[in-house]
């Protein structure tokens, strides 16, 4: 005679330990990359650490709903995205309106640094920190797609999935986001002609 209640207790216990092991195998290894994504949109290391920890805690809480290994990183990025959005709300950070520049924007079409050759030079001369500061200062919608594409190297399809957008929207936001980023970096370059040996330059967000 099978004792059903003992049996289901055992099965339950197995699932519990199993899920901790699964979490440790499937989710924990992603914490380094998650931190990278968090850090790139945080003003400080402490905030990035908070975002990362909060993301993993939420991931643990919701782990039972997840059954697909391949999509784990995308799933974690979705959570991180919500954590960051919540963080921004908490910080009362003003949601920037996303300005839409055309390719004929004055800076882009008239500035000497905007032509492909000089632009490439300007990019080379700016420090990683300067470029990252400009990325962080992008409006949310633009920053997200730029991070997921140019840092995380995800396909438009994956980004669309993570951000709940149509792939066409990912493409237009990325086009506009990079355009705005280019415009701001061109301004930085023109404000600081000696940017190459000036490491403490901060980007002043264009209002």
């Amino acid at each position: 005679m099978v004792n059903k209640s003992t049996d289901s207790k055992r099965a339950h216990k197995m699932r519990s330990t199993g899920s901790k092991q699964q979490f440790d195998t499937l989710v924990r290894p992603w914490r380094y990359r998650l931190y990278g994504v968090a850090q790139r949109q945080s003003a400080s290391t402490e905030i990035a650490e908070d975002y990362t920890q909060e993301t993993l805690l939420r991931a643990w809480r919701d782990f039972g709903q997840l059954d697909d290994q391949v999509a784990i990183y995308a799933w974690l990025l979705r959570i991180l995205n919500r954590v960051v959005a919540d963080g921004y709300r908490r910080d009362n950070r003003r949601r920037q309106l996303a300005p839409v520049l055309t390719t004929e924007d004055a800076v882009l079409s008239e500035h000497p640094c905007a032509a492909p050759g000089p632009f490439e030079q300007a990019l080379k001369h700016q420090t990683d920190a300067q470029v990252m500061a400009a990325v962080r200062d992008l409006p949310d919608n633009f920053r997200q797609v730029v991070l997921l594409r140019d840092f995380e190297d995800l396909s438009y399809q994956d980004i669309a999935q993570i951000l709940d957008l149509a792939p066409g929207t990912v493409m237009s936001r990325l086009s506009r986001g990079r355009r705005l980023l280019a415009e701001r970096l061109i301004k930085v370059a023109s404000d600081n002609p000696a940017a190459s040996d000036n490491t403490h330059t901060r980007v002043t967000p264009h209002e």
């Binding site: 805690l57 999509a71 990252m132 999935q161």
Partner: protein
Amino acid sequence: MSDKPSITPSSESHQWSDLHHQIQDWLAGYADGELDEHHITLVEAHLAGCEACRHDAERQRMLSERLQEIPAPRLSPAFAKRLDDTLASVQTSDRRPVGQKPLEGLKHWLTRLSPSAVIGGGGWAVAMVLAAMLLVPSLTPEDPNQMAVASQIPMVNDVLADYQRVVGNDLRTPSDDADLSPPMQWANGRVLARWTTRVGGEPAEAYAVRLGNSLIVQYQISERVFFRNPDVRQAVARAGDFRTRDNELEVIGLPMRASGLLVVAPSGNVPPIDKSAMSAS
């Protein structure tokens, strides 16, 4: 400025201007190689005559390359340690009963999964549903050929129709206090959901179980319904169970104490049936 289009008749110039604006939203896709053939052709035709967009496409590409050069920030060892400790403490204190969690419908899982998971071959939930869909592409109770065997036994018809509805994503959310343990348990099986349905005119408990890539549904039905059909009675008396199948689905009927169990599985994917456990339960 320097590269403004030459003055053309107004309709043509409108078209050019529309395209000029439309294409600006595609330039990232062009630079990233994410456009299809058709759009590449459109973009390239435009770029040939528009310096502003041509430069923008170049900047998109350069910017992307520049950003990719930036090394990923490193997590400090101190924080890594703190993070591990925090997780460990949450994991031990919070004995979250994974298996008892109310589960959402298949539709929800599907929308949550990335399409690349399907293509990548690792998405079991998608694979399972696709497999089930492929296995039951046109199984409808109205189809007299496919249902030839089953149509003689109403309870079999009912469970096949119910199974099909589950495959069609209409998986009901179980109530919070539902006990998700199905009558028959398999080592690698995972209970997805439980719901109540009607089989043979009487209430029945259904349990969806994922096993490998198969969706298997167990229906616990009343003894009366189970033994109503003489073919079933005969088969059970002779072999201990009742089996019927068509090209796509297989149904196994098992007597239980005071009830009957119908297991519906894709043909060829029927899990081992432990009859000793069944009769004992």
